[in-house]
């Protein structure tokens, strides 16, 4: 009896040991199998830790009075001082309004533009014409923002194209970039010019997956070109449109920073100054590191909240979502 018990116990013991061993072995085997792949991943992970996750830790300085040249945890803590200072400052509402309005108009006019372009291109039968339109409209995407702003400045100058047209119409020439009321128009119009072609690629790609038989069947059923576009092409684009819309909303408050920085001037701050450019002026030019980080954090959090909200709404309404 005793012997039997002992042997049972031993058996149980052994089986536990065996299981443990196999788990360890499995881990070892998995590691061995992937050792070269982990070697490839090492610099990638290191890069993300240093240049993306370390800065995230650096956000803590927005709760301190950061002393330049020290570590992120060595300066005195001040709680929400910089946030309240920002919320109570004269600039807060102006920045909120400007950031919102520029992006609102960009969303209203800039977002549908490439969709319309893709729809129109889809109606073109002549291959050479299609290619021509694509080749030309992609070009601005590859031109540097410095050159683009240079062109905008040149065309809106007193002796530029727009003022030449105004002269023909008998109107005075205006230095458009010095008037706050024209800034948003200039910004949004030039943005559409820059991005319409390139942004349409993604829709165009989605259309190439549409079965041509659908159009044939529709035309046999007596549907005209416009109805085909409405009932076949547009529904085919819907998932792509929704995803791009969510992504656009999620990046709404951070876009266009470089362009505004190059295009605005103190005379037009009234409508042109947005949160990100304010962070730049305060932080990089003014060296108020903690304050600027707090404002930047506010911007990032707002962005993130917008993304989550857009995703949730879209999941409810259209069953399309990022996650």
């Amino acid at each position: 009896m005793d012997d039997l018990n002992v042997s049972k116990l031993n058996l149980a013991d052994i089986s536990v040991k065996k299981k443990k061993k196999t788990r360890l072995q499995r881990l070892k085997r998995d590691f061995n199998r992937g050792k070269y792949v982990y070697l490839m991943l090492a610099p990638v992970v290191l890069y993300y830790l240093i240049f993306h996750y370390w800065p995230m830790i650096g956000i803590v300085i927005s709760f301190q009075d950061y002393i330049p040249g020290t570590g992120f945890f060595e300066s005195p803590w001040v709680g929400l001082k910089h946030f309240t200072e920002f919320f109570q400052s004269f600039y807060f509402w102006r920045l909120m309004k400007n950031t919102f309005l520029i992006n609102f108009w960009l969303l209203i006019f800039g977002f549908p533009a490439p969709i319309i372009l893709a729809l129109l291109l889809n109606e073109v039968r002549a291959k050479w014409f299609k290619r021509g339109v694509q080749t030309v409209t992609y070009i601005p995407h590859f031109i540097s923002i410095i050159v683009i702003v240079g062109i905008i400045k040149d065309f809106t100058a007193t002796d530029g194209m727009i003022n030449q047209l105004r002269e023909i119409l008998g109107k005075d020439s205006l230095q458009f970039l010095q008037f706050p009321e024209y800034f948003r128009t200039i910004y949004v119009t030039s943005d559409i010019w820059q991005t319409i072609g390139w942004s349409s690629i993604i829709y165009f790609a989605a259309l190439s997956a549409v079965d041509p038989n659908l159009y044939e069947a529709a035309s046999i059923d007596g549907a005209g070109r416009f109805r085909q576009m409405w009932h076949i092409t547009l529904p085919a684009l819907r998932p792509t449109i929704v995803i791009i819309l969510i992504l656009t909303i999620g990046n709404l408050l951070s876009t266009g920073f470089e362009k505004i920085l190059l295009l605005y001037q103190p005379l037009t701050y009234e409508t042109a100054d947005v949160i990100s450019t304010y962070v730049y002026r305060k932080g990089i030019e003014g060296s108020s590191f903690s304050f600027a980080t707090a404002v930047g954090l506010f911007n990032t959090v707002m962005n993130f909240a917008l993304l989550i909200a857009a995703n949730r709404i879209s999941r409810k309404i259209s069953e399309n979502s990022l996650w």
Partner: protein, 292 residues
Amino acid sequence: MKYKPTVIDRVFDIFVYITLSLLMVVTFYPLYYIFVASISSVSEIAKHGSFMFWPKGLTFETYQAVFQNSFILKGFRNSIFYVVVGTSINMIFSIFAAYALSRKWLKGRKIIMMMIVLTMFFGGGLIPNFLIVQKLGMFNTVWALLLPGAISAWNVIMMRTYFLGLPDSLEESARIDGANDFQILFKVMLPLAKPILAVMVLFYGVGHWNSWFSASIYLQNRELWPLQMILREILIQGRVADFGGSGATVTHQVAKNLKYATIIVSTIPILLVYPFIQKYFVKGVMLGSLKE
């Protein structure tokens, strides 16, 4: 009964062609005008203004001035350096990341994927990044332009999707032949991934060529400035006088002409590679991004 095109369809067709033609003109004319004006004489530009459809008073003097300018030449050389070295770093990192994250059997790949995707929507922001580049001692060195943006998450996801689309049997048979992962990646996968590699090189390369913001906050030493920084002085800050050649008084018109020529010189390299890679765009974008 088969549907026959109606009058409305014809009108619709005409509308489509006219709209798209207009779009082409509006997109192309500004660029074309700058080219035309850059090789026209100063007095003709003054006379015709923004409406010139072919060069008048053909001259290449401004280009001579541009190519004799030591700042522009140095900027050009620096930019080529940033493009070549920067893109190489980008490609090595991205290829490794994409290959690793597309190995379905790899333990931990989901966590790392999430770690990468999160950075697309959340980050430390401008100031912490700036402070870290300073802490790392990269301020005022070329590394400040090469390392902080070494990987673009979008591009990694695009390339990863491409790798996921290649058949598993490729990897398996190579492994049976005794190949390790480096050999599988470089000898089996990459030769099959040429379209996506071409698109990546173009995206990263153009990104470096056009980049100016990092240089403007990290580089105080003008000797290291890329061409875009010189362009900023000429086009945005209007400091043309320093670039107008020795002792010459630079009139407003000459300054304008000089601007056009520098725009062309800085944009030509991109427009030269553009047609060769254009055929891959749709392919690349289609493969990438949206599908998980």
